[in-house]
């Protein structure tokens, strides 16, 4: 009964808003869990409704299908997937964040602004398509299009994919050359196993690539934060002047100025702050699900051989990544994020 009420309320909210479309679970099997924004975890059930900030994690035999008003999303086994949102020019865009594993999208129709797909290494935008995204253990991404058009962007470069085309993106690098691939030709486990082997063969290179991608997030955080602080200063100054205006010209004049100038500025400033949070949380996700996981794999492998040259070099480079993360991203995080 609670879920029916919740679904009904959310549907009303959707009709009122036209934004932030919730995702209904239309199918679930195997080991599948959802972690809500509030931090508590539950099993995935058909009929659940998920929204921004919720993370779905599937185990080796887990599979979940989500429906979002014209978009069907299949979450494959061994996947970590989060629904997020980003502010851009006063508009909110849904962002599907894939930290690990693979998902398949199918858009039945175009519903307003298409969501973006974000992985550790790239961002993809799609229009009227069916395509799969694979996030590798080393932070690399593979996108394969079955139908429609997908644009994949990384490190300032973009590549457009049409039907039966795929591209691989390494973290910190622009998209690779696109290639032809048949529908359902890619076996995610084999692809990911190859990535793991490559990572174990050259862990220093892997962490350097993660570092490059982290640099991108750090740059975005710093740019938005700088803009945010600039706007905040402007806002404070406007408010201070408006207090004087109230004393000199009267409350009504000041209130008019507040409504016409200051409030719109405050909303813009608030949205900039939300973007700082978006990129900070994206950096945290990469640190946790990509960098942290590679650390675990390598530590376990070299635990009996701690002074191994490769592992020592890896730890040194990993330490540099942590230092940058601590310096640039952690100040934007709060305890509730951990």
């Amino acid at each position: 009964m609670k879920k029916i009420i919740l679904i009904a309320i959310l549907l009303v909210a959707v009709l009122l808003s036209g934004f932030a479309v919730p995702n209904d679970v239309i199918y679930s099997e195997g080991d599948a869990a959802v972690k809500y924004q509030a931090g508590y975890t539950d099993d995935v059930f058909i009929g659940d409704v998920y929204d921004t900030g919720d993370t779905v994690t599937t185990g080796f035999d887990g599979f979940v299908e989500l429906d979002q008003a014209g978009l069907v999303l299949k979450i494959n086994p061994d996947t970590v997937f989060t629904l997020q949102e980003k502010e851009e020019k006063g508009e909110k865009t849904s962002v599907f964040s894939l930290a690990l594993g693979s998902i398949k999208f199918r858009y039945d129709r175009i519903t307003g602004k298409e969501p973006m797909i974000q992985t550790a290494s790239c961002v993809a935008g799609a229009r009227g398509t069916e395509f799969s995204v694979y996030a590798g253990a080393d932070g690399s991404t593979l996108i394969v299009v079955d139908s429609g058009l997908v644009e994949v962007e990384s490190e300032g470069k973009a590549v457009q994919l049409t039907a039966e085309e795929g591209v691989e993106v390494q973290p910190g690098e622009p998209p690779g050359d696109k290639f032809v691939v048949q529908r359902d030709q890619i076996d995610y486990k084999t692809w990911n196993d190859d990535k793991l082997s490559a990572m174990l063969a050259d862990p220093v290179e892997t962490v350097r690539r993660i570092q490059d991608r982290m640099e991108f997030y750090i740059q975005e955080v710093q740019e938005y934060d700088s803009l945010y602080r600039e706007y905040l200063k402007k806002l404070e100054e406007e408010r201070r002047l408006n207090t004087e205006r109230a004393q000199k010209e009267g409350e009504n004049v000041a209130l008019q100025y507040e409504n016409d100038v200051i409030f719109p500025l405050s909303v813009e400033t608030f949205n900039l702050g939300l973007n700082v949070r978006y990129f900070s949380l994206a950096a945290l996700s990469m640190r946790r699900y990509v960098a942290g996981r590679t650390y675990l794999l390598l530590k376990a492998r070299y635990i009996a051989d701690y002074d191994n040259t490769i592992f020592r070099e890896y730890r040194k480079t990993f330490g540099e990544l942590l230092d940058k993360f601590e310096e640039a991203i952690v100040p934007q995080l709060v305890e509730a994020d951990i």
Binding site: T57, G59, F60, D78, V80, R288, Y289, G292, R293, Y295, L296, L297, K299, A300, R301, Y302, I303, A304, D305, Y306, L322, E326, V330, L333, E335, I338
Partner: protein
């Protein structure tokens, strides 16, 4: 005389409490070391609670915990002749022994229990390992592992 007797009783009780706790801590490091040395990765995974702290990394996925334990067993890692160096109740600065960061501090504040303990063991080669353990009446839970260093 009565006061002295009372004081002696309190001292004996206090000493036995401390020795009971030490005994528990020793039991924990022996048990965990034995599980590692006899390759019982499944049991180690079952006793590990999420999230799990590995050095400075917060591990969120159950499969990663399983991978960690099974891999260290696979590569032949052993905890040779472990001896309890110290066992202490978690305090406000305990997190620094793992890594001095906001994330690790938050992990300690949010995910450990009041009765969780930091155990330090030393092997026969002088290597040290830190463990974060919580004992209840019926369970023993592992929250963190650091080392060897």
């Amino acid at each position: 005389m009565k006061k002295l007797t009372f004081l002696l009783i309190v001292l004996v009780l206090f000493a036995s409490c401390a020795s009971i706790q030490r005994s528990k801590d020793e039991g924990n490091i022996e048990r965990i070391s034995k599980l590692i040395n006899t390759g019982q990765a499944d049991k180690l995974s079952a006793m590990t609670e999420l999230p799990f702290l590995l050095d400075q990394e917060i591990i969120l996925l159950d499969k990663d915990v399983r991978t960690f334990w099974s891999t260290i067993v696979e590569v032949g890692f052993k905890v040779e002749e472990p001896v309890l160096e110290r066992g202490v109740k978690i305090g406000p600065d305990s997190y620094k022994e793992f890594y001095d960061s906001m994330e690790v501090r938050t992990f300690f504040n949010k995910y450990l229990k009041k009765q969780s303990r930091l155990l330090e063991l030393k092997t026969n080669t002088g290597q040290r390992i830190l463990l974060l353990v919580t004992d209840t009446l019926f369970t023993r839970t592992l929250h963190g592992f650091k080392g060897p260093y």
